[in-house]
Symmetry: C2
Subunit: 270 residues, 2 copies
């Protein structure tokens, strides 16, 4: 059971907010993996083995598996079982539907695949996410302010009552009694983190947008952390697809270690 | 290629807006199906065979297949190939992610599974849906005003500029040059259909919420139709899971025929 206190403890122990994003792309991975029958699994497993000592969570991008049909789903299940028990497993599925349909997704992710967390769209409102939120010890990561330019189209539009839409989303779900709700807030909006922390001082934030998308790691930590850590900072392409000519294993490990060291320096004084 | 004119023609020819929703649930289907190895496929195929002469579209609820893992996805692909060529195939997947991830979903649904349409969450904005919208002859069904009570939480909240959020969503995407964008608007909000038609007179609307959820079929047609038809009215539970003691086949067929007759009476004078 990877509950709130367990996650806060892992962050303290590992001096890390690092969530490694698994977006296995056969066109970008080394040929040793892509020439195999199970490229998605073998590549993801390698990344997990190289980085888990520096990471407190892994975020699995479901689309990259779903795109390969039944075999992709088999490799997804295999990937979950390759992740060490102490790391939070986040399925980045971005689902949400009416209640009886959301219940199908929730049961499959939480009970069959045994993931710890899933990412969710808030657009359909509270009752659409209830089937996820009613799992007392599973995490729901609700999209609030995403890292892409399109976040300006709706999320950053002002409501009549004075809040931006993303703030209204946070306010609505932050009132829920389940402590295992976190919000997805992109590192590409550092100026928003103070307002986010005012609305939900005690919630974890899942932060994409570091690395390839240009977010500033140190600024996100200074503005976004709370007393329990309160951050999971995701890096996908910036760890899994290294540039340069050095051996893949060495590069991936050093990139993950580099992120952990920077996190430790800002937050844990070492 | 099931483009705008083809769909409008089908509606005229069949005198029907009917979209039959496939939510195959082994706990609710007759035992002949649920005791089989491929219950999702065989049940869906039976519904398709019994109802296709009255329907212009089928909406496949992806969660009901995804919940069964790799076998579910095999049965999903088989179900798609059981649908007659003249009917629009809508994958009710409710996806959306940042661009490179949405591109994975779009390619799998449109090119591998060869679906005609997919349902999408608008929350992440225009660039998150671009990988779907750039298929000139495939349909994107964007959630606007959904049929569930939670539609009040965000979709029906007023923006500072005066529109409700769902109206802002419609306004934003209605300006897109691809005519194959439709909006999901629930039959449980009949009062909203006039405003919706003002914002997008020429778009198709995909309307859930008839039957089990209590929407009024005749009112939706009168308020929502346009010169090209402009409506796909979905019925899932109200056709696939008949009450009473009559034979399953007979009941399903008669329920679908009943909806088509009511549609013809209101819209096509017969």
């Amino acid at each position: 059971m990877k509950d709130y206190n367990f996650l806060a403890g892992q962050i303290r122990d590992k001096k890390s907010y690092l969530c490694v994003g698994l977006d296995p792309d056969p066109l970008k991975m080394p040929g040793d993996f892509s020439r195999n029958d199970l490229p998605l699994y073998l590549f993801s497993k390698a990344i997990v083995e190289l980085t888990h000592e520096f990471a407190v969570a892994f975020k699995i991008n479901v689309a990259f598996f779903e795109a390969y049909g039944p075999s992709g789903w088999e490799q997804l299940a295999m990937t979950l079982s390759a992740i060490p028990k102490e790391c939070l497993i986040i399925l980045d599925a971005k689902r949400a539907d009416i209640g009886n349909t959301s219940a199908r997704y929730a049961q499959y992710y939480f009970e069959v695949l045994n993931a710890d967390a899933v990412t969710l769209h808030p657009y359909m409102g509270l009752d659409s996410l209830d089937p996820f939120l009613c799992y007392a010890h599973k995490w729901s990561a609700i999209l609030a302010l995403t890292s892409n330019p399109g976040s300006a189209d709706f999320q950053l539009q002002p409501m009549r009552e004075g809040l931006f839409l993303y703030e209204k989303v946070i306010q609505t779900f932050a009132a829920h009694p389940n402590p295992h709700i976190m919000f997805v807030c992109g590192a590409t909006h550092p100026e928003a983190f103070s307002s986010i922390r005012n609305l939900c001082p005690d919630r974890f934030l899942l932060v994409p947008g570091i690395g390839a998308q240009g977010g500033d790691l140190e600024e996100v930590i200074r503005r976004g952390r709370n007393d329990d850590g309160g951050l999971l900072i995701n890096v996908s392409r910036g760890i899994c697809y290294p540039d340069g000519d050095r051996p893949f294993d060495e590069s991936v490990k050093e990139l993950a270690f580099g992120y952990q060291r920077r996190m430790a320096r800002v937050s844990f004084g070492s």
